[in-house]
Assembly symmetry: D5
């Protein structure tokens, strides 16, 4: 995965400012994963949101507009990602994809979980046997239309 | 994705018994997604668990042993799945993969969320603007070992 | 693309009944493309809809239930389809994909056309220089959620 | 998908001129999707059309000739596109490809919808439950020749 | 490439009748390559044409209808065919694709050679240094429509 | 497909000279498709041929040597080309590959049409219903050797 | 790689007869690799050759005709073969492909080694440090035709 | 296949010196194919060998060290190479792979021909019907170890 | 991965006999991983070894010969395996491949670790923080031959 | 595989310092494979570890921070690596993957060997018949969680 030039500039400014995305969550008033998505150019911000982000990390205001554009999304180079952290999501889909499909159909009928009207959160769950990563996805159920 | 013969037998018996996986959750005392994973031969049950499942759906006891074997896991035929419900998880990985990686590293350091010491739940969140699907993944954080 | 056994049974019954999908549109009260989607097991029908379809083509009533299940969707074998009629849709996406993306973003903002809350119609447009195929897709615009 | 240098110049000029493709439709007298296709170098313009476009966006006249060349078309990098908006067209082809093929054959006989003698329009359909994207494809039916 | 069952039946009958496709060309009144395309289920025949073919090879008349259906076309299993004779056409496209594209554009403008309104002939050209295979493709030029 | 730097130089010189490949055919005394193949670095010229070409388009004589080298041939980036004009040759191979194979074997025995001892011509066939592109391939038949 | 039914029959008969391909070389009067190619349906035999082979292994004479047909050649399932012995030829092509190309061009000019007018032999070279496999390929040089 | 910068420098120097790889074979005292493999960075030379090569072609002595490094080997870009000369080796593996495997096992038992303890030679065999390319591969037989 | 019929028979007999591969190691006098490789038809046994295995699990002696054949090796269906246990070896190669390559070259020079003259062992290392899997690979170093 | 710029700088400094990774193991107090992994940006070091490494090779201290970042891991360009040394690990997975899976399940139950809580060592085993490469992998067994 090639990191975009604009993303590198943003990450460098953020690093220079000594801030984590959790810090930005507090300053910008939006979720840290979503802010990271804007930085990686997978999501687009409003002018107000972009301005807050750029100011928070002390980057050049000429970058504000870049954060407002609708990006071409998704860009893990090989179709099956090689990074172990990201690959685990592919594995989860391979192993639990059909079970989830069946359970969703039983609970909701024929349709899908939207990946657009959708939020995703990452939380740290402390555990004496080793902390746990909690990823919470929440998407609107979209029933298949008939016509 | 070719459905395994044993899975088809199990699903037919479950249908004949008129039970959902949520019903099985109550009867077997394990999560519905995990039970579905056992039925789709992505997870293995103990003898006691397998027996409860087979009895709950009234299937032939000769199937108990099949549920106890360690399956070859993962079998969505094309590398990029075509089923829209399952594909959305691929899309989420493509769009939110790098942002999540960054946030996990900030919260935990270099490592991954385990997909083995891992649970996944599906919940229905009622919402007047349209119900929402909530998928909660929870995996142990595994830090990279140095040596 | 392997045709499913159930689809072959349905198409054989429909042929024996001497009906086109346009005829079924009139008898069933639903669009011909959607009915074909149910026959090809890409969409699921309600009990009432399935019953009407089976009765219209004079097939065995034991097939009604099959039309009500949520199918695993999408199954053109090679990732790039070889059938010339179907391939043209791939080519359209390759050639006009970015232009459409840009125009949709200008008209609607960042988001997508749903392929779930979605209808598709095929019409014949008579033309002295050669008839034309008109394909009308209509999907709800889904704006990306921020959180 | 790498954006061509010439496309980037054109989009920058258009942005500086504060025009949408819908505005260009009015100024150039051609459809906005087709104009976007010329900008993305998927279609070629006549000298007159190219001149109008370049003048409308106030770009350098040296770019006129570039718009007149026959481009190498189609260039979504991975065979299966990852951008969610563009992917939906792939999904539509996967899910509705065979049903459409069958209906077209019933209406027209053995042949295809041309993707060359072809137009595509994008319209906004206002709807109180959420606006809808309407994509209208219209291609000449080409029957298979026998010889 | 799996040979279809119907194709195997047709080829067996033709072999039993001791006929080449060139013989069928004379009997059926259509080109041998096209007739072979119908046998391999890549093209569809009219009732009259199908009847002539079946009678010429002395096959069962129940096969007539199969030749009249619109087939799912194209089915060389790997995307890059391995059979040396067929692969050479892939190699020709790889080596001469861009040169032909340029020459066609110079002669005709932006557009394509139709592969639907199209004929293909195979001739034997006797040559003392070794006979030559002549393949003549002839397709209607389709200019890109502007709109 | 990335155009090679040397090809771009040659095409620019040819454009500045206002010549088509058909014009070069007359000046150089070789077929236009073959000359285009040399320009696209898919074929190699002798010193005399290269000199004629470079002089005809008024390019720098330092380019002569480049046209004499044996190129690494074939370079359509994706395995299945996306350009519609070039793709049609892929489609022809998919649809008519097996029929041609069978007819060639009937006419010549087991072997192939050479793509090396091979010529390819493009002609314009005027037709009141729309001009036609004629592509004539002619390759030596090579019988399989036994040993 | 799925072994064809006819190949399995031939190999079983050969095994029952207790013969190696080297034995068949002596009995049939043709090279063992070529005979193996006929058995694996990658090459076609004349009636006389096929008869000798079938008689040598004591198989049913109804198999003679099968050996005379022009097979669809090449059928290692994955594009990159997994069998270690066969893979080594792929690795040799990857590592030594460009060096061989260069040396052939220096020795012969622009062209290829035919894989059709071609023989391949396997010999055992005894060596005190470990026997060696010698594979000798010999194909006609085919110069690129100009036209 | 992108040619490495160091390879381009070496080939340019060799060209300027007016030497073929066969000339280098005489000067360096090693096979021409192996020397070409070192130039293409598929094999590594000792200091003495590298020095001889660099001196023979009159290149800068700073390049000596580059020839001594262990390269990352194999780099034909597409998995199936498109260059016709190189592709023929792929075709040979597809067509003759299984026959060779069988003959090797009969002659040697279960094991492989090493591609490491391996030499490959290219010879020109003059023939009045057309010269022939002879490629002689010779690799140590490695039997599978049991443990 | 489709399990071969013979492998299924062997595994069933072994299960009926109530033996693990570790038990077979003791009875047969060969490593458990290698015995499993013979059962999965990835390695070939001598007559004596095969007989011991078949007798140990009480299978039909007609299976002895099957274990003696040289199998077509390697057959994980997708190029990138989906089973999580097997995938980890792919990931190890992705993450540690280049570091290992460098270290091996520093220790041994240019060459490879043989995967043929090779053994692999699996051991259980008890550990109070969780048992560990130890996989020990040991292959002969093969230096690249120069010629 | 493109080598990262930072890796190239590190390897050049290490070369200038005349050190092997085994030398660094002694100086840094960590395993040579792991140190190589940090250099190839597949693993991240603490500030103290990074400082030791940079000082040991005499590189610029501005590189320290680069070694502390969590890299995007895994980047062998083709999905199946072409370098022979690295490919052997792919082959081992293809050939011994299922046998290892079975033995691990017999020894540990359903679960995997972690590739994160994991070490890998490379040792040279001297042997009069040729030295051997020993690769020792040791990963925590992770049992599948049930819930």
């Amino acid at each position: 995965m090639a990191i975009l030039a604009v993303t590198e500039q943003l990450l460098a400014a953020k690093k220079a400012a000594g801030l984590t995305f959790a810090d930005l969550e507090a300053k910008v008033g939006a979720d840290e994963v979503w802010i990271a998505s804007v930085f990686y150019r997978q999501a687009s911000a409003s002018k107000e949101e972009a301005t807050k982000m750029i100011e928070a990390i002390g980057a050049d205001s000429s970058l504000i507009e870049a954060l407002m554009e609708c990006p071409v999304k998704g860009s893990l180079d090989p179709l099956v990602p090689t990074d172990p952290l990201i690959y685990r999501f592919y594995e989860i889909m391979q192993v639990y994809g059909m079970p989830i499909k069946t359970v969703v159909h039983e609970k909701f009928g024929d349709g899908i979980m939207s990946a657009i009207d959708f939020t995703i959160d990452v939380e740290k769950e402390e555990d004496s046997k080793g902390d746990r990563v909690k990823v919470i996805m929440c998407g609107k159920f979209l029933p298949y239309k008939k016509w």
